[in-house]
């Protein structure tokens, strides 16, 4: 016997019995709905009334499993063990259920709905306390629509993906609400449309791996670690998304790595650590890519480029109030990228030029050329000194002494005078009344202090002069 195999076998014998958690009594059994599926013919509609249906449900016929309309929705309860639903037949529809309490084993990929066949429609369900949400494996042309997908209260890395596609071309992911999940990830899936979803407090809002010809539009991605991250994908379209406050060590609104032939337009990227991050994208320089009419505002860094990035075209974007507009990590410039298209550049909130001929385009170019930013890009630790007066001092020195003025990172020859990017319905940060209270409180303190100091004079009352006469009157 091969000794290594023997050892592996021994290890396996030792590990396996304790590896799998003990199955709770009654859990992981067959769902009571199984008999109704067995009795149905392909194409039938099975209406399920309210109630709790414990156990794992396998759908191996092309049936429509639909919750009966009403206030109480039927509950498919996996009771904390294994998967809740597995779809094995083509063209199954699963609609209107509450799907909850899967197991918590990452290696078992315990999932709310596992889809193993084409054409499934998963709609109007609520998935809660699930490890993975919806997991499509080689399932083409599925529809995942209007579901609410929650997660288990585990450490973020121990959670599962809210939505995962694996070689599932032509899927439509639409109108879902995804909260607290790990990622929603597309693997090797072509022609997917991701539309009008909301993802918040996840790790990755959406993550594409080797997924080509994908359209991502109208989504709201906020308070995730990363809004959308593209890797090794070609032909992606990203438009009309709101990508807000994705922060943390990753903290990218949109990140592109080795991604090609992309169009990113009309998005709002606000309050992220880095609005847009580009790493070797586009891959082929001659491939036409477009970053147009986005509003990139109030991020710590508006756009961050690796120095090797070339071949992007930016036009009509609004770069407003980012602490750093454009950052080039390491040293380098962006001279191989275009900052205008057909005489239309971008709007830069810090542009100091003028437009004498009133054609809407500034008469002097916008150059990003600040010494402190250059130093920060070279040595990111210097970010510690952001907002310190020394930052302005360094900038001033850089401007005053041409000898140490840094090379410009890029220049926009046709800076726009007015923002042309997507306009935003301001994110609800209500409570304007509080500012009045703050103003009153702040102005109240000095008046109280001054009032106390001169109380005696104001009241014109002779004060009991204690201890020393010098203090009372000697000051006038």
């Amino acid at each position: 016997m091969n000794p290594s195999r023997f050892i592996m076998g021994l290890l396996g014998a030792l590990v396996l019995p304790c590896g799998a958690p003990a199955q709770p009594p009654g859990a992981g059994g067959v769902s009571p709905l199984a008999s109704r599926i067995a009795a149905a013919a392909p194409g039938d509609t099975i209406e399920v009334g309210p109630g709790t249906y414990p156990g794992r449900l396998v759908i191996d016929k092309a049936v429509r499993l639909v919750a009966r309309p009403g206030p109480d929705r039927p509950m498919l309860d996996a009771q904390g063990y294994g998967d809740a639903v597995e779809i094995r037949a083509e063209n199954v529809e699963l609609r209107g259920f509450i799907i909850e309490r899967t197991g918590s084993e990452l290696d078992g990929e315990n999932v709310g709905v596992r889809v193993l066949a084409n054409g499934a429609v998963i709609q109007d369900n609520e998935l809660r306390d699930v490890l993975f949400g919806v997991d499509c494996k080689a399932a083409l042309r599925c529809v995942i629509r209007n579901n609410v997908i929650g997660a288990k209260d585990l450490d973020i890395a121990r959670r599962g993906d809210a939505i995962r596609l694996w070689r599932s071309d032509g899927t439509l992911i639409e109108g879902n609400t995804i909260r607290d999940g790990r990622d929603s990830i597309l693997w090797y899936s072509k022609g997917v449309i991701v539309r009008n979803n909301l993802a918040e407090r996840c790790r990755y809002g959406f993550h594409l791996m080797y997924s080509n010809d994908v359209t991502i539009e109208g989504n709201t991605l906020r308070a995730n670690s990363v809004g959308i991250y593209f890797m090794y994908s070609t032909g992606v379209t990203v438009r009309n998304n709101i990508i807000d406050r994705n922060r943390g060590p990753s903290g990218y609104g949109i990140g592109l790595k080795d991604t090609d032939a992309f169009v990113i337009e009309n998005n709002i990227l606000s309050g992220n650590r880095v609005g847009m991050y580009l790493d070797n994208s586009p891959v082929v320089r001659t491939n036409r890519v477009l970053i147009a009419r986005n509003t990139i505002a109030v991020n710590d860094v508006g756009m961050q480029f690796l120095p090797s990035v070339k071949g992007n075209t930016l036009t009509g974007n609004t770069m407003l109030d980012n602490f750093e507009q454009i950052s080039v990590l390491g040293r380098g410039d962006l001279s191989d990228n275009e900052f205008d298209l057909d005489g239309a550049g971008n709007f830069w909130g810090d542009y100091a030029g003028y437009d004498a001929d009133h054609d809407g385009v500034g008469d002097t170019e916008y150059e990003s050329q600040t010494l402190f930013e250059n130093l920060m890009d070279r040595e990111p630790k210097l970010r510690l000194l952001m907002f310190s007066p020394v930052q302005q001092a360094i900038e001033f020195v850089g401007r005053a002494l041409p000898a140490i003025r840094p090379e410009p990172k890029f220049s926009d020859l046709y800076p726009l005078m007015r923002p042309a990017g997507a306009t935003l319905v301001a994110p609800a940060r209500a409570g304007g009344g509080n500012i009045w209270i703050a103003a009153a409180a702040l102005l109240g303190v000095p008046s109280m202090i001054v009032g106390f100091a001169f109380a005696d004079r104001l009241l014109a009352r002779p004060a009991a002069r204690r201890n020393c006469p010098a203090m009372g009157g000697a000051t006038a």
Binding site: P249, A297, E379, L384, L385, S388, L442, C468
Partner: protein, 295 residues
């Protein structure tokens, strides 16, 4: 006189100790002096004016795309506080003892039945109240502008209140240093000059030193954080960002390291640093002042 109304309040709980009467009497005199003096008026005007400009510009800029000025006003104000408040507090502290000594005022004061500690603490109390009034006035004007233009949000309100409190904490430390300078110096002009020099050192030279350390010595982020925590200005800045944004992402790797390594202890570390800067120089000043023979 501040002593009388304050005492009326205090008397509800206990008869005021004689030392408190003395301290509050000195404080009241100092406070009234400050309110009358030009430096106070000048700093208040400068602070309020610059704050007004910052909040007006941020309010105007953010309106263009319908975005609220998320953190922008705050960032500008942090910058302003870092420049103005240390200067204000250092020079106020420097002007507390040394000029009085020069004018003979100090001898006159010490001839009364007040101890040297009482004089020092009284002056500290009075000047800190004057500084608090100045800071609150400046930030209050900003809050007023934000409220009037309708650009203010509750985030702004919260951050302005935090800024006010933390700027006061910074001012206490700087005032303490200023008073130590004033006790040590023999002439008022020397004290003021030293204070301005210290201001330059703390605001610019220390940060330039950190920059040099990062670029030339490749300082590690732990060291950088320790250096930052030792510097009251950096502590004020980090604490403001931390309190307002609940993260230190903005400050790059050092900020991320700090927030990740000390998720709960960070605020306490900030508080300890500011408290040390407020207490230690003042105690040293008191010891020097009380043991000195003659004025």
């Amino acid at each position: 006189m501040i002593a009388a109304p304050l005492e009326r309040v205090v008397r509800v709980f206990a008869r005021p100790a004689p030392w408190w009467s003395n301290i509050s009497a000195v404080a009241a005199r100092e406070l009234r002096d400050a309110v009358r003096a030009r430096w106070f008026l000048l700093y208040t005007l400068a602070f309020a004016g610059l704050g007004l400009g910052i909040s007006y510009i941020s309010a105007a800029g953010s309106g263009a795309a319908g975005l609220s000025g998320y953190g922008r006003t705050t960032a500008g104000l942090i910058n302003l506080v870092l420049l103005v408040v240390p200067l204000m507090a250092l020079t106020a502290g420097a002007g507390s003892i040394a000029p009085d000594r020069e004018r003979g005022m100090l001898s006159y004061l010490l001839a009364q039945s007040v101890s040297r500690w009482e004089v020092l603490l009284g002056k500290y109390l009075g000047l800190s109240l004057a500084l608090l009034a100045c800071i609150c006035l400046g930030l209050g004007v900003c809050a007023g502008v934000l409220a009037l233009t309708g650009a203010g949000t509750s985030t702004d309100a919260r951050s302005l209140l935090w800024l006010g409190g933390l700027a006061f904490g910074l001012a206490l430390g700087m005032l303490s240093i200023g008073m130590l300078v004033s006790v040590l110096a023999h002439k008022g002009s020397v004290a003021t000059g030293t204070a301005v020099f210290l201001w330059l050192l703390m605001v610019f030279a220390s940060d330039l030193g950190v920059m040099a350390g990062v670029l030339a010595l490749r300082m590690r982020i732990e060291t950088l954080l320790a250096v930052g925590l030792a510097n009251p200005l950096q502590v004020f800045k980090m604490w403001s960002l931390h309190a307002i944004d609940a993260s230190l992402d903005v400050l790059g790797s050092v900020g991320l390291y700090a927030a990740d390594t000390y998720p709960h202890g960070l605020a306490w570390m900030f508080a300890a640093s500011l408290a040390a800067w407020a207490v230690v120089p003042l105690v040293v000043a008191g010891l020097v002042f009380s043991r000195r023979s003659g004025v």
